[in-house]
């Protein structure tokens, strides 16, 4: 069963790669749909003139979810070998968060 592969490596398992690519595609399409949906919700919240007390937290949560989907599905952080990158990303995010928290609580009070 000699499939045409783009790889020069004879050990490439065509069926396996096909299945992986299909799963990958499904994940991307699903997250793309979710992102569109979340954007839609965000617009509705603003258009419907929700109380700011509700609107701000919901918008922030939706934004955070979008970032996670972007990182994990479109920028492939869900793949193997991204542990170090993830560690540094989260460390940086944490330090930025602490900094912003401090500024919001004790600098611009």
């Amino acid at each position: 069963m000699a499939h045409e592969t783009t790889s020069a490596n004879p050990k490439v398992n065509y069926e396996y790669r096909r299945r992986k690519a299909r799963d990958e595609m499904r994940g991307q399409v699903t997250s793309f749909a979710m992102m569109i949906f979340m954007t839609f919700i965000a617009f509705i919240i603003v258009l419907a003139d929700f109380d700011k007390f509700y609107a701000f937290p919901i918008l922030l949560v939706l934004a955070a979810a979008q970032v996670v989907l972007q990182l994990y599905y479109f920028m492939h952080m869900s793949h193997k070998g991204h542990g170090t990158a993830a560690l540094f990303l989260y460390s940086g995010a944490l330090i930025a968060f602490v900094t912003i928290l401090t500024f919001l609580t004790i600098v611009w009070w």
Binding site: T84, F88, S91, G92, I95, V98, T99, T102, F103, T105, I106, V107, W108
Partner: protein, 630 residues
């Protein structure tokens, strides 16, 4: 292709160093320029101590004293301690992980030249109308009001050298993550490599806040912005926060590599595996992590409120725990070991009580209510000199003696080394121990002169005498270096005899391609494992093959030079605008030309492919005793 045993003219050597991308040569560049700035900062310190030796002294003027203390702090932290640590990181870390070079040799060179030109720019302020005079922290309320160009030199100089430091930090992160030899897992890395890794991560996260702070300051001073001007709706406290968000991790960036050097020295000269290796690694990471949660303890008296003060006080005290873990692990490494008191080991042993003293006063200062008493007094001066000299400088001096043979292939004289050590240690404690009491007696920090008969006379004199001991120690060290290099007695792979880690498995200094074949690492202290099994060399992990090498490049020098030139234009355009275009008409063209040089050299680097070259297998087989195996 051989670079050794060739007599070359001075200009050829100079050109070699200006264009080198070899981590071992960049290490020497860092060592020489860091050492130069260490001497400059040391002379500034001596002038400060001479001024304070006797009451009501008029050795220097008040304004000049402010410049001296500012430049002493700035030079020692940014231009001496950090580059000297980078010297050892560059010289040793690639060898310790069994790599042929750092991940980005070109960037390594660029990082050095940016630091160098930034440092030169900062120090040119002495000759161009006065140095910065608002303290090394350059608090905005002072520095916005400072006349002349001193603070502009500070802002632009640190911006340039800070970019270099950031580049160097990222380079080490990538090197340690990606370039480890086969078998060198994270938990087999020597402690110096680990602490370099954590310190580089701290650089990655700590330098951007400094960059932001410096940019805001730059806009305030040079382009009429008002970020820190309270009368215009700004907030002067923001500078303090940004500075210390950088500044506190910065002191860990300094101390962690020193911890790493000491860990390797103590384990080597106790002839024992480091006690509690995993705990040491964990403690290093934890110190790095907590280092970002404590910056406001420098600002207890700015009025953050009791809640914020309490949170930052507790977080600060928490750092004592991992630090204590490390102290006990060093003690237990020595416990039962077969200890040899070589010069580096003397430094390591002296470091432990000295640093603990600095740590204890640190916990005292961390207690927010008590800090209201200590704040801005000589107690603080004593504290940070105990941690920075007792920790970092002792580490640098220990590292100089320990790694000298690996960097230069010669052994510093042990007798002179021990004389340096004793003079320095006595001088250090003599200078700073007594300053704790000066502080408790009420002597304020950064004060120019004090009145006689207030109980401060004798202690200040003792402190100055101590400083002279340190100065003599440094002179002895310089003499030692000159004598050693003139005699030029070459040493072998492992001159200390008890080397445990990979850098001692390769000749001193190593050949320019480092390992002929990458070594196979079979555990912690890989060379020691081989020695215990009766071998003298590492087992290779690969057959002998062609080695890919980067080409030397002059571009990093030109790129940094461009920024150096542009900085003058950026600074003097203030006067140009102030004079309505009458004077300093050259400032804007200089700014544009400087930026043009930098951007042009970046374009050349980007557009012109440079694939490096290969050292062929046949050449490697001819070279015999040049490291690795055949």
């Amino acid at each position: 292709m051989s670079t050794v045993a060739e007599k070359r003219g001075f200009l050829a050597v100079l050109w070699d160093y200006l264009t080198t991308v070899d981590h071992k040569k960049i290490a020497i560049l860092y060592l020489v320029s860091g050492g130069f700035f260490f001497l400059v900062g040391g002379i500034e310190a001596m002038l400060i101590r001479i001024q304070l030796a006797v009451p009501d002294n008029d050795f220097v003027s008040a304004g000049f004293y402010n410049e001296l203390l500012t430049m002493h702090g700035t030079t020692m932290i940014f231009l001496a301690a950090m580059p000297l640590l980078f010297a050892f990181m560059n010289a040793v870390v690639p060898l310790q992980i069994g790599a042929r070079d750092v991940a980005f040799p070109f960037l390594n060179s660029l990082g050095f030249w940016l630091f160098f030109f930034g440092g030169i720019f900062l120090n040119l302020s002495w000759f161009l109308g006065g140095a910065p005079d608002a303290g090394w922290t350059s608090y905005a309320s002072l520095s916005i009001a400072s006349d002349g160009h001193g603070i502009d030199f500070y802002v632009l100089g640190l911006q340039i050298s800070g970019a270099g430091t950031l580049i160097a930090g990222i380079n080490f992160l990538v090197t340690i993550i990606n370039m480890r030899a086969p078998g060198m897992t994270y938990m087999r890395m020597p402690l110096f490599t680990w602490s370099t890794f954590v310190a580089s991560a701290l650089i990655l996260f700590a330098f951007p806040p400094l960059t932001v702070g410096l940019f805001l300051m730059l806009f305030d001073r040079m382009f009429g912005a008002n970020f820190f001007d309270v009368t215009m709706g700004g907030n002067t406290i923001i500078w303090e926060h940004l500075f210390w968000i950088f500044g506190h991790p910065e002191v860990y960036i300094l101390i962690l590599p020193a911890f790493g050097i000491f860990s390797d020295i103590i384990s080597t000269f106790s002839k024992k595996r480091l006690f509690g290796y995993a705990a040491m690694v964990f403690a290093t990471v934890l110190i790095g992590f907590l280092g970002f949660m404590v910056w406001a303890h420098h600002m207890f008296t700015t009025g953050l409120g009791p809640t914020a003060n309490a949170i930052f006080a507790v977080a600060t005290m928490a750092i004592a725990v991992p630090t204590g873990v490390k102290i006990f692990n060093w003690l237990l490494t020595m416990w039962g070991g077969s200890i040899r008191f070589t010069t580096p080991m003397l430094y390591a042993v002296a470091f432990i009580p000295s640093f603990v003293a600095g740590g204890v006063t640190g916990v005292m200062l961390a207690s927010a209510p008590a800090d209201y008493q200590y704040h801005d007094s000589y107690f603080v001066v004593a504290h940070f000199h105990y941690v920075i000299i007792g920790g970092v400088v002792l580490g640098l001096l220990a590292g100089t003696h320990f790694y000298w043979p690996k960097m230069f292939g010669t052994m510093l004289n042990e007798t002179l080394g021990k004389i340096t050590f004793w003079l320095f240690l006595i001088g250090f404690h003599g200078t700073f121990f007594i300053q704790h009491f000066l502080g408790l007696m009420g002597m304020p920090r950064r004060i120019w002169k004090y009145l006689p008969n207030q109980g401060l006379d004798l202690f200040n004199m003792i402190s100055t005498v101590g400083a002279f001991f340190m100065a003599v120690a440094v002179i002895v060290l310089l003499a030692n270096v000159i004598i050693t290099q003139v005699k030029n007695v070459r040493v072998g792979n492992d001159p200390w005899g008890d080397g445990r880690t990979l850098e001692w498995a390769i000749s001193s200094p190593p050949p320019y391609y480092n390992f002929k074949q990458l070594p196979l690492v079979r555990g912690l202290d890989p060379l020691w494992i081989e020695k215990m099994e009766g071998r003298t060399e590492m087992t290779p992990a690969e057959p002998l093959g062609d080695i890919h090498m980067p080409n030397s490049s002059f571009i990093p020098f030109v790129m940094s030079l461009g920024l150096f030139i542009a900085a003058f234009g950026a600074m003097y355009q203030i006067d140009w605008r102030a004079s309505d275009g009458a004077d300093y008409v050259w400032s804007l063209p200089v700014l544009i030309i400087g930026m043009g040089i930098t951007i042009g050299s970046m374009a050349v680097r980007s557009l012109k492919d440079d694939h490096g070259y290969h050292i062929h297998k046949e050449e490697l087989m001819d070279d015999h005793d040049k490291g690795g195996r055949e």
